[in-house]
């Protein structure tokens, strides 16, 4: 468990660094991929239902890295990811069980909805509550962000499945 947690922390850290430096050069229409969010979503999506505490732990780690490398206070991303993580587990339990318990057909719509919710709520926080008052007006940029991130998340979904099945063997 501790080994897994350590690896996850290091991965989140590495992804946060990549997101802010390397992938900043590959932004499309002003948006760069949110690798930390994508990895967090994958972890929660493939986590067992009963592991709610782990979901909260993942949310705290991912949110902390997102907040540390942003210009705002530490907290908004942590709180949002905790809510998203718990909601995602509850929504998954409501969905009809299939042979493959976590199909792509569930993954993509859920990812888009939760990323949209995360972006909108974070924008609202920054607009109304952040003391720096950097105006972030909800704009068409969100659409590009959804398309770009969904593409990377889809590729990551199959990659994650492949890697986890390899380790299960």
């Amino acid at each position: 468990m501790w080994k897994k947690l350590l690896v996850i922390i290091l991965l989140f850290y590495l992804l946060a660094l990549l997101q802010n430096s390397f992938f900043a050069h590959f932004n499309l229409f002003g948006t760069a991929p949110n690798l930390v969010f994508i990895f967090f979503f994958l972890l929660v999506f493939f986590e067992k239902k009963e592991n709610n505490y782990q979901v909260i732990l993942f949310a705290i780690i991912a949110g902390a890295f997102l907040d540390i490398f942003s210009y705002t206070y530490i907290g908004p991303s942590i709180v949002l990811l905790v809510i998203i993580g718990i909601l995602l587990k509850n929504v998954q339990s409501l969905l009809k069980n299939r042979e493959d318990n976590r199909p792509f057909i569930y993954f993509l719509p859920l990812f888009i909805i939760f990323l949209l919710a995360y972006n909108l709520l974070l924008d609202l926080y920054l607009y109304f509550l952040d003391p720096n008052k950097i105006a972030v007006i909800i704009s068409t940029k969100i659409i590009f962000s959804l398309i770009y991130n969904s593409f990377i998340a889809s590729v990551s979904f199959y990659l994650y499945k492949k890697i986890s099945s390899f380790y299960r063997k």
Binding site: L17, L18, N20, S21, F22, F23, A24, H25, F26, N27, F29, G30, T31, A32, I56, I60, I68, F69, S70, Y71, Y73, I74, G75, I78, V79, V82, L126, N132, K133, I134, A135, V136, I137, S139, K141, S145
Partner: protein, 288 residues
Amino acid sequence: MNGVQKFSINKRNKGWLKILIGTAVLLFLLAVLNFFVSPIKNYFYTISAPIQKTFWSAGVSSSNSLISFLYGESLVKENENLKTENQKLLAQLASLQSIEHGNQALSDLSVSCQNDEFKFVMAGVIGLDDEDILSINKGSVDGISEGMPVMNQQKVLFGKIFKVYKNFSKIMLISNKNSVINVKIQQDLPAQAGDTTKPEIDGVVKGSGGLNAYLDLIPINSDINSGDVLVTSAIEKSFPKDLLVAKITQKEKNDQKPFQQAQINLFFDVKAVDNLFVITNYKNEKSQ
């Protein structure tokens, strides 16, 4: 039966109690953490800086390779255009040099008012986020403070220091949605001898996010053209005058509006920059 009902209600209440306590603890911890937000962030930036710098440089070269792979042909064309433009500028420079001597006395007077010898701190760029905020690896220990202008070696304006930590700072780029700067328009017309009556056109560059900006508040009767260069104005107290800002690409004139707008191409290229210069001794009247 009654006992069972009581038990289930208690269990549900316990669940809510857990969530409530959990939320309260989380919020309390976050509030405590935020008392130490600067040292925490500074610590993370310090240990991450070498890796981030490496990733940033790798990003610069990878994106350049990708661009030359995708737009190989158009790059050759663009290069030719740049060469032509460069020659044109050299010719203009030659004619300007002859005028320069005559203007020296006048410009010395205005320069002494504002452009004293600037002191610079060179900083490495290590990150960029979605809100057009750039991170650099120099902070308050290097003499940087909020509001200081930032440019590159070609005197192209990038923005101003917006947040300072001990060893790191954040720059708000001029493309940030919150950024508004006064500019004057240098018209791209052939220099005519004795043409000193041309009125100076002032305008405002407003950030629109996504590393873009637009020109606004140009009087409707002013004649602006594509190719005109925008530089920081003397009215602007946040930045020294005559720093390069952008070039007009397309004007948008509507007679029903009191002002003209124009699409512009910002001179800064965040994706290609490695080092920037922070002017540490510019008199920032707004902060006084």
